[in-house]
Point group: C2
Chain length 347, copies 2
Amino acid sequence: MNNSKQYNVAVVGVTGAVGQRIIEMLEQIDFPVKQLIPLASKRSVGKTVDFKGESIQIKEALAEQFDDVDIAFFSAGGSVSKQLAPEAVKRGAVVIDNTSAYRMDDEVPLVVPEVNEQDILNHKGIIANPNCSTIQMVAALEPIRQKYGMKRIIVSTYQSVSGSGNQAMEELTHQSQAMLNNEEVFAEVLPVKSEKKHFPIAFNALPQIDVFDENHFTLEEMKMINETKKIMHDYELQVSATCVRLPFYYSHAESVYVEIEDDHISIDQFQGALKEAPGVVLQDDIHNQVYPTPLTAEGKTDVFVGRVRKDLDVSNGFHLWIVSDNLLKGAAWNSVQIAQSYIKLAK
Amino acid sequence: MNNSKQYNVAVVGVTGAVGQRIIEMLEQIDFPVKQLIPLASKRSVGKTVDFKGESIQIKEALAEQFDDVDIAFFSAGGSVSKQLAPEAVKRGAVVIDNTSAYRMDDEVPLVVPEVNEQDILNHKGIIANPNCSTIQMVAALEPIRQKYGMKRIIVSTYQSVSGSGNQAMEELTHQSQAMLNNEEVFAEVLPVKSEKKHFPIAFNALPQIDVFDENHFTLEEMKMINETKKIMHDYELQVSATCVRLPFYYSHAESVYVEIEDDHISIDQFQGALKEAPGVVLQDDIHNQVYPTPLTAEGKTDVFVGRVRKDLDVSNGFHLWIVSDNLLKGAAWNSVQIAQSYIKLAK
């Protein structure tokens, strides 16, 4: 990294769950920030964010705020990104977009630095951060794919409410308290705020994340399917997903079945590839009940893998359990990593 | 059913979560009970159970209590079944065992009445009730298998704490309250009471149900694999399972991938087979957000199926979401159904 250069960094959607964590990550790794420009909607103007001991005023996210910005993180929803990301790019900023607005755009690289960092070189101003559930899965599976090839992925997810933002987290708290007190439970946010019906998430499981596609999959499931192929540059790879929202606050977990090319691989070899993988921590010791859980992964930037098993019938089939903090590696940390890679590659 | 005949019915483990519900089910369907004999461990002697407006004293589960028993339900753990079920059989009772003690015994039929009711005819005194997570899966999949053949099942479960009994339910309540109050959280029951380590289940997910086998699968996972083959009488069927405990009280949910023999089946045909299936209710309307959840299945005896999708790559692959109350169809209701089938077939 060019140690001398410093950057003007804008964070759009700074009051949201992801925006807050982008600020924390920038501070934690001492990212070379010359000036931090926290941006949000009009109603947050007047509030402040704390960054490196300074209290910085939040400004309204308007095109002219990007005039002197070098790097702009966007996590204020797809419509804001669609409207303002091109304005930021026009003014010379590189945009790292954490929404789904540009992910499947052929002109936009979709990046998990451990997997396809070099794709950043093709950017035309916007670099997209993948969906949270996709990031942790490809980070864990790419080292396997590189070493042993990969034909097929079938994933069932166990996703926390923070993936739906701060309101969903508050809803889980209110509903949990109400149910424990035998009071009436109200649902207004989950499974999808804009949908007609809402269901309780407290002490429940909702097999709907995002709205439904005509093919009966949800858009969350289609994101995992399409983004995985794009990030891995492998459109022959068979991917299928079932996405489920669950009553915990942070981290997504995934039960993953993969079929690799090589059909003579042992559990030890499979685990070995994971042990060497950047950003991946193997937590897999059945004799000592060692495996990752949402609570143990919370607040950490790594992707944790456990429960590695060889399928009992299919010689090239493996099962594994992948857990990571969806707001960190699944969002804020991966975005900041993209910024680091961008700086490194721009040297 | 022989309407005139009435039966002396013992329930062993009557104070447990399943035992309580066996009593409720017997009452609810007006099972032909001449005398109810509620049995439990010594420390419950003196307590009573309510049955059809009567308050009946609980007696200690000892061999001599089975002297006049016709049907004995066992749900007091494997060791009690191993010790006392043969005593009950010796005294002329037929045992319907809800533990894992005899399930894989070649001499013992393992029965889900909608799937393999006729197996009851081979009993030698003991009929086994399968594991909760197995029952709801085979009830939903057998009609598909009958109609379209079946090659392969890959399941990831979302299992409630009541599968671990009343103590696990209390633990979820205490931990949830503690976490909401920012108090210290204690774990003493889950994932497995007898294991060395215990982890919080509140606002978490534990990828361990029962202890580990040397093949890295848990015994819960192996139950689903082995029991499914035995119930379906199909040892060529490929089955794999990942079992996860989650913070809700009742119902298990399952994300299931199946490969059928026939590769020209539409979603409509697949749903059609489920609509006709006994004990199965299709809740699958994506345009109106209709799908089963643990809370909506709670207290109901049916198996609910939704989220039916055709795999996007594999023409004979389907995904579905199966939910049922683990204490009812997964335990008490299936046991009472076995008793009904036994009476019907004994005519």
